[in-house]
Amino acid sequence: MSIWEYANPVKFMRTSGAILPWAAGAAAICTTGGLLWGFLTPEDYKQGSTVKIVFLHVPAAMMAINIWVMMLAASLIWLIRRHHVSALAAKAAAPVGAVMTLIALATGAVWGQPMWGTWWEWDPRLTSFLILLLFYIGYMALWSAIDDPDSAADLTGVLCLVGSVFAILSRYAVLFWNQGLHQGASLSVAPGERMSAVYRYPLYLTMLGFFLLFLTLLLIRTRTEIRRRRLAALQAREMRA
């Protein structure tokens, strides 16, 4: 029994089918519960009710980065061990990551308007997320442009590797280019910078909820991709017969 057993599509379909309802239920409970709890938190003395946006903004931003890291890991597994499920999981994750990036940017813009007096600021964090969005778009465009599934998986895998290096490089280049308005990490452990517990616990819950939501969507979308692949294989066999 090893983790590579799940590289077998049949085994993956069976296991993911069993996990899926639980993951979906847990994601629904944690996300809605966390967001409702967040909505009921008291107002911040400085930011007023806008502090409630944090329960969408921070989990989305966290997932936007983590999904790219997951795609990088999946691409590496595909390039090294040639497990098809891995490549399909990377493909399935990309749109979710792009939407998370969009949510982080959109909530940030809406929030920045009253707090900073501007929708957009060329702040290092904001700029890095815009660049991340560009990488997601390029990655998805490359997947949809190549017909042969194995070549597509290979080329997007290589692009994901190079893109990861440049995403990090851009992050620090941007830091050099402009110092920003954005505050530091929201969950910093340094005393004084840390959020009050009133906001912290609902935030943890929504972060868990967003993670479970990603897991659910990833399973659904990977299953879709596996079915599409099988359909294409069956059709190809029929054409030959």
Binding site: L35, F39, L40, E43, G48, S49, T50, K52, I53, L56, H57, A60, P95, V96, V99, L102, I103, A106, T107, V110, W111, Q113, P114, L213, L217, I220, R221, R223, T224, R227, R228, R230, L231, L234, Q235, R237, E238
Partner: protein
Amino acid sequence: MIELGKYAGTVLAAYGVSLALLAGLVWQSIVANARARRDLERQEKNG
């Protein structure tokens, strides 16, 4: 009803946009999955 104060529009807009995006993503995933399953089942029955 929760009192949102003068930033009500801001908060509601942020929640609205985000939830709409998430709902769209979930809906698209489910529809695509259902279609893939339907097509596959039809193909397996015929073939």
